[in-house]
């Protein structure tokens, strides 16, 4: 769904829209006259739209990070072997040859790391990318990427979105619950359709209050989204559970990235 973001008068953040919508739904339950079905239906449409954009952006972000990691692995691998050999990824035709080497890229988000020619141990992507950061920090801090399709130059910083993985400063054990929660989100879309939305939402709200990490908002909102998603599955098409949605999104962004070259 393409969104005309340019038309928005404020910095429309999918996240802020999601939290605003959830607040509206929550407060409607205490409004005089009972829950207004029409208004809540409209709010849920905004929620769905914002959620779709949020997920798409998140997965694009993660996919970019995956690309970065693979590129870094290629770099370090090549540097170990022959620093002067022409690097396949640098040449346009080389980029196309590179495609069959990584046939599994289209498989879906969860399989990203496995498909990368086994260069990395198969781990859940979000958790892994955050914690593997230190390995590559000595090699390069920035990577500039030119997309041959769109001719867009992007600089990928070394910094990951720490908020994806609970606190930046938090130790690994503390990260695990957040990562586990996110992994659960990917794996089990449309979980427990019988789960009562109000109580789940309350649990989600309590979870929201308990979190003290500054960067925890994104993962908490993801939790709330997954909770809420089970209650409004009618708004999504039947076949599109979260995993397929994200793989479609990844596929959509795949075309551009397979033709990208990396410049140092």
């Amino acid at each position: 769904m393409e969104v005309d973001r340019g038309a928005m008068d404020c910095a429309v953040d999918a996240q802020s829209l999601i939290s605003m919508s959830l607040m509206k739904i929550h407060s409607s339950r205490t409004q005089r006259g009972g829950i207004k079905l029409h208004k809540n239906l409209l709010v849920s449409y905004v929620l769905r739209n914002a959620r779709q954009l949020y997920i798409r952006e998140k997965y694009a972000e993660i996919y970019r990070m995956q690309q970065y990691e693979e590129v870094m692995a290629v770099c370090s691998g090549i540097q170990e072997l022959e620093p002067l050999e022409p690097l396949e990824p640098l040449e346009p035709q080389g980029a196309e040859d590179a495609e069959p080497e990584q046939p599994g890229r289209a498989a879906g988000c969860g399989d990203e790391s496995r498909a990368a020619g086994g260069r990395e141990p198969p781990e859940p992507p979000y958790y892994r990318s955050c914690c593997m950061e230190d390995q590559f920090s000595q090699n390069c801090n920035k990577t500039t990427v030119l997309d041959l399709d769109t001719h867009v130059v992007t600089t990928v910083e070394n910094g990951f979105l720490h908020q994806d993985c609970c606190c930046a400063a938090a130790a690994a054990p503390q990260c695990a619950p957040g990562a586990a929660a996110r992994k659960r989100k990917v794996d089990s879309a449309g979980c427990s359709p019988d789960a009562e939305e109000p109580s789940d939402y309350t649990a989600g709200r309590k979870r929201l209050k308990r979190e003290e990490c500054s960067g925890a908002d994104a993962s908490n909102i993801s939790n709330l989204i997954s909770i809420f998603g089970s209650g409004f599955s009618g708004l999504l098409s039947r076949q599109a559970d979260l995993e397929q949605v994200c793989s479609k999104q990844a596929l959509a962004s795949l075309g551009a990235w397979t033709r990208a070259i990396v410049a140092f």
Binding site: M8, M20, K24, G33, G34, L41, L42, L235
Partner: protein, 446 residues
């Protein structure tokens, strides 16, 4: 004040008095306005469950300048707040809609509804009272029968005019969801009441039974994607009615086809323009009001930013689209934040179906002339309205240099909204509800 007759086919004068309550509380907010079929009476309903009926003064030769002004005729409490013990829900007393029945005798009848219950009210005048009872004194005390030696026949004596309203029918327990509209059939025997998911058909005489004629509730409520927002009977064809949905479509149904009118006979929808897609596309395409034209050939619908006129013979797109306040398109996010995006504006035809009118923010209301394609923005406010003066057209500046008389989009007061308006069936008299104030504007024509 300069006369702006160039811009308007007619000029509207503010009334000599602006009718409003002295103190503004939530309960005083007007929630519906409706002229009766002759235009002699004007009814308003408010959030406190009260109905106030105004009557037009007879034109008098001695005071020609008081040509047909509206004065309070009757006030009564139509609905009270209720509590649904089963669901632990409070039922608001706010009057959602009032519809008049055409006059058939000396009394006036109207239907008023809140979220759950429709009531038929009889408003009648009493200007005589019987005097000379045998068993009762003039002050009402009973007389001892043993003291009565003669009998007399009571006679009707004139008294001060008293207008009384009595509830003649109560149509209840037929709606699980909130009633959004009622519509009296042209057969004058039946009416429909509509909530988010169902349309029920009633006979005006029968209160313990209603027929469900439209039901869009899905088997699994999680699959709900649209609700009914308004429904209206065709003005002449007693078997035809239309209902609008939150998805921006209108369905025309024929009650002769089947008992349950789930299958429409006409479906009006304009395909969405993908270039204007946003987070709020679904909200702004939801239809808040649907009205048949007086001649029965057209339908008018109001969504958040536009008014559309549909030809009943053409289903794939509207005949005319009018932008009410397109400058709000870039402000949808903040309007979502402050809930204004959920405001339900009504729209109304004039008597000849040549002009349509609808409200906006900042106490502005807009009129569109369908023939000349001219439009005007007027304001209902105390400050700008002196008695006998002529309303000055207003203009919203959408960027660039703001001229002296213009108001910029950012200065608009979104708490002042005109949701409810009504037009006299034959003359150029309009009633506009601005929060707790009722403005009645009349044509200047002498």
């Amino acid at each position: 004040m300069k006369c702006f007759s160039r811009y308007l086919p007619y000029l509207f004068r503010p009334p000599s008095t602006i009718l409003s309550s002295t103190c503004h509380t939530e309960a005083d907010i007007i929630s519906t306005v409706e002229f009766n079929s002759t235009g002699e009476l004007l009814a308003t309903g408010d959030k406190g469950g009260r109905v106030v009926v105004f009557q037009r003064e007879q034109e008098s030769k001695t005071q020609p300048h008081r040509r047909g002004e509206y004065n309070v005729y009757s006030t009564f409490q139509s609905h009270e707040p209720e509590f649904d013990y089963l669901k632990s829900l409070e039922i608001e007393e706010k009057i959602n809609k009032i519809k008049w029945l055409p006059q058939q005798n000396a009394a006036y009848f109207l239907l008023s509804t809140n979220d759950k219950t429709v009531k038929l009210w009889k408003i009648s005048e009493r200007d005589k009272r019987p005097e000379g009872y045998n068993l009762k004194d003039e002050d009402g005390r009973f007389r001892d029968p043993s003291t009565i030696t003669t009998l007399r026949v009571p006679v009707l004596q004139p008294m001060d005019l008293m207008v009384e309203a009595t509830a003649r029918r109560v149509f209840s327990n037929a709606h699980t969801y909130h009633i959004n509209s009622i519509s009296v059939n042209s057969d004058l025997q039946t009416f429909i009441s509509t909530d988010d998911l169902r349309v029920n058909l009633w006979n005006l005489e029968i209160t313990d039974r209603s027929f469900n004629i439209v039901d869009i509730k899905p088997a699994n409520m999680e699959e709900l994607t649209e609700v009914i927002t308004s429904a209206e009977f065709h003005p002449q064809q007693c078997h035809t009615f239309a209902y609008s949905s939150s998805k921006g479509s209108i369905r025309l149904c024929d009650m002769r086809q089947a008992a349950l009118c789930d299958k429409h006979c006409k479906y009006f929808e304009e395909p969405e323009d993908p270039s204007t897609r946003s987070f709020f596309s679904e909200i702004i395409s939801s239809i808040s009001d649907v009205k048949f034209s007086h001649n029965g050939r057209y339908l008018m619908t109001r969504d958040y930013l536009t008014v559309k006129v549909w030809d009943l013979q053409m289903e794939n797109k509207p005949l005319e689209t009018y932008q009410v306040h397109d400058y709000l398109r870039g402000k949808l996010c903040s309007l979502y934040e402050n809930d204004c995006i959920f405001d339900k504006f009504e729209c109304v035809w004039n008597g000849s179906d040549s002009v349509i009118m609808t409200g906006s923010y900042n106490n502005f209301f807009r009129m569109f002339d369908r023939n000349t394609k001219r439009d005007v923005t007027l304001e209902a406010s105390r400050e700008n309205s002196k008695p006998r003066a002529i309303l000055k057209p207003r203009k919203v500046c959408v960027g660039g240099k703001r001229r002296k008389d213009e108001i910029s989009v950012d200065s608009l007061d979104f708490s002042k909204k005109i949701l409810h308006t009504t037009w006299h069936p034959h003359e150029n008299i309009i009633a506009v509800a601005a929060t707790n104030n009722l403005y009645i504007f009349q044509d200047k024509v002498n």
